[in-house]
């Protein structure tokens, strides 16, 4: 899961939890608030009445011992004052029902008794609970709405900010990691960010890639220089051997040894040339401007290789459309790619075996398959076949130094051709080349 998605998810969930808790607590909260508010009001009303009593005497409410009662027309508030017989002091606020003109209404009632002129009076101030609750409901919904709005707002704000703050990370991943081939020798742009962590990450990636690049570059230069430098001494040795071979006074026995030296020198030469070729391909010193008919290319390869096929009586078949043309390729390299594949197919084949080369469209992409009936590649050897100088157990018997497939791979990478290998031991191997569109023309 992406970091941003995770953050958004956490944000939303945590806020949802807050909303739920708040919604659950809201009625209680409102009720408490209401109670405090109502009680305050009752106290104030009580104070007003007592004030009146203090300044104007009890007579302003009670004359002739009649009790006083007053309520608003819709009976939501009432005040009553009466003589009281109880001795104990009362000062409570309670919810109690009262019968007013035949209606039983639940009130929140403040009861307070006091003594004026040696008489006990009981004062009651009540507010109907209905009217109290009436206000609490809209209050609740308003509070809820405000809460939801605030949550939505903060989620949005979080989202926008996290997108903004994570943008450099996304850029680092998109431009420097995804789909990048290592080593990549392109120039590196610094990512703009004010977050020091990302800056550090960017710089670290930068440095690591630089290190990898320079190591790769050094290795390539070394191989290229070393193989170049080896060419001249090999050339001198070869000439010396050739001249000695021609000398009449050299006995046959010495000539046999010279021959042996020549063979070994040829091997050295072949390895050096191959390494040089691979380094030249990797340094992109070849042009990709040739067009060549695949059919003709395979026919040319057949000319080179037919003697090796005859040796084991291997049959060779080509199922390639004659009008299929490879474009934007290097002919020399493509020749080498197919030559090495087919040469391997012949080398590791059995007597009376066969080699088939077929080109076909698979899901609108051109695929060339080189199929042989050879000894196959074991599963443990499979990951190693493209490694330089890796001699596989199967190839030990053969006169090979393990550079054929590395050449094939370098050429394929250079042309952006994908190679898949399927093999069954004892049955044969299929090399499947997937060619990008820009290499094919019909």
């Amino acid at each position: 899961m992406k970091l941003r998605t995770k953050l958004t998810l956490f944000n939303t969930l945590s806020k949802l939890v807050i909303v739920i808790i708040f919604v659950l607590l809201l009625p209680l909260l409102i009720r408490t608030l209401n109670k405090i508010y109502t009680d305050n009001r009752l106290r104030k009303d009580e104070e007003k009445v007592l004030q009146t009593v203090r300044s104007h005497g009890i007579q302003s409410y009670i004359q002739n011992g009649e009790s006083y009662g007053s309520y608003t027309p819709i009976k939501d508030v009432y005040v009553s004052l009466d003589e009281d017989t109880l001795d104990e002091h009362i000062d409570t606020i309670k919810n109690e029902p009262r019968k007013v003109e035949g209606d039983t209404i639940l009130y929140r009632i403040l009861s307070h008794n006091f003594m004026v002129a040696k008489k006990n009076y009981l004062l009651e101030v009540g507010i109907s609970l209905d009217s109290v609750n009436e206000t609490s409901r809209p209050l609740q919904s308003i509070a809820f709405m405000i809460l939801v709005a605030m949550v939505v707002l903060t989620v949005l704000a979080d989202q926008i900010y996290s997108t903004y703050v994570l943008q450099p990370l996304g850029q680092i991943i998109k431009t420097k990691l995804i789909g990048q081939k290592f080593p990549n020798f392109g120039s590196y742009k610094k990512i703009k960010t004010s977050t020091s962590d990302f800056e550090y990450l960017d710089i670290s990636i930068h440095r690591m890639i630089k290190t990898i690049e320079s190591t790769f570059q050094k290795e390539r230069e070394f191989i290229s220089n070393a193989s170049h430098e080896l060419m001249t001494p090999i050339s001198i040795l070869q000439s010396k051997i050739e001249n000695m071979f021609e000398q009449e006074d050299v006995p046959d026995e010495a000539k046999t040894r010279l021959l042996e030296m020549q063979r070994i020198l040829n091997r050295l030469k072949s390895i050096t040339k191959t390494l040089l070729l691979i380094s030249q391909i990797e340094n992109e010193q070849f042009l990709k401007e040739d067009s060549v008919s695949l059919h003709e290319l395979l026919a040319e390869i057949y000319d080179e290789i037919s003697i090796r096929l005859q040796d084991k009586n291997i049959s060779y078949s080509v199922d390639v459309p004659e009008n299929l043309v490879l474009v934007n390729v290097n002919k020399f390299l493509m020749f080498n790619l197919f030559f090495n594949l087919i040469n391997n197919a012949a080398k590791y084949n059995r007597e009376n075996g066969s080699i088939n080369i077929a080109a076909a469209l698979e899901d609108n992409v051109w695929v060339v398959k080189v199929t042989d009936t050879g000894i196959g590649i074991s599963t443990e050897d499979m990951p190693l076949i493209f490694n330089r100088f890796k001699k596989l157990r199967a190839s030990l018997k053969q006169d090979s130094f393990g550079l054929g497939l590395p050449i094939v791979q370098s050429i394929a990478i250079f042309h952006q051709i994908k190679i898949d290998v399927r093999s069954e031991q004892g049955k044969g191997t299929v090399f499947k080349l997937t060619l990008p569109d820009f290499l094919m023309k019909i």
Binding site: H228, E229, M231, T232, I234, S235, I236, L237, Q238, S239, K240, E242, N243, F245, E246, D252, K255, T256, L259, Q262, R263, N266, R267, K269, S270, K273, T274, L276, L277, Q280, Q285, F286, L287, D303, E304, S306, I307, R308, Q310, D311, N336, F339, N340, N343, N344, K347, Q398, D399, S400, F401, G402, L403, G404, I407
Partner: protein, 227 residues
Amino acid sequence: MNVLVIEDEKGLADELEIFLAKHNYLCDVCFDGASASEKIAVNLYDFILIDLGLPDYDGLDLLKEAKKHNPEAICVILTARAEVYDRIKGLDLGADDYLAKPFSLLELHSRMQAITRRKFGLKQNLAELGGFIINLTDRTISYKGNEVSSITKKEFDLVAYLLLHKNRTLTRSQLSEHIWGSLINDDYDSNYIDAHIKNIRKKLNAFAPPDWLETVRGLGYKIKTGN
């Protein structure tokens, strides 16, 4: 024929001189660009072999000078730098051929001969071997007017190479380098030369026994001619 060898590696220059002298060329050898430049300006050569990687001179400048003072000379570039770029540049400037080090002396000789043939338009390049007529221009072998049509390109290359170096034993390595040398190959086995020779003998035998194509036991093959 006069040859100027410009090669800073003394070991190689010496061997080139020995080889070319043996093949009746008159050799001048220079180890650096400055003396080569003088020689080019003063003498006339039929062949100039230039090593591109000279310590004191750009080999391509030398090539320009050679073209100026010795316009008739055949220039062959020898280099350890087998880059495509150099190749194109060298041939653009009028080099007649290009040999990447390490090369075989026999290959050099064969190239020099081929360029001479091409340059001087030697029309009929025929050789007669035990009744077989080998036509190097048309690349055909015939016996009493009948063409041996089954001979493949590679087989003809082998015969022609042996013929060029007639009376000399060529090893399997030398032969395989000639016919497969340009291929970058994982294995350098020269065993297939035997198969090729076997095929050639079989095809020629249908007309007459090719006794002139000899196997030199333990060493290789040669074409033997009377003269």
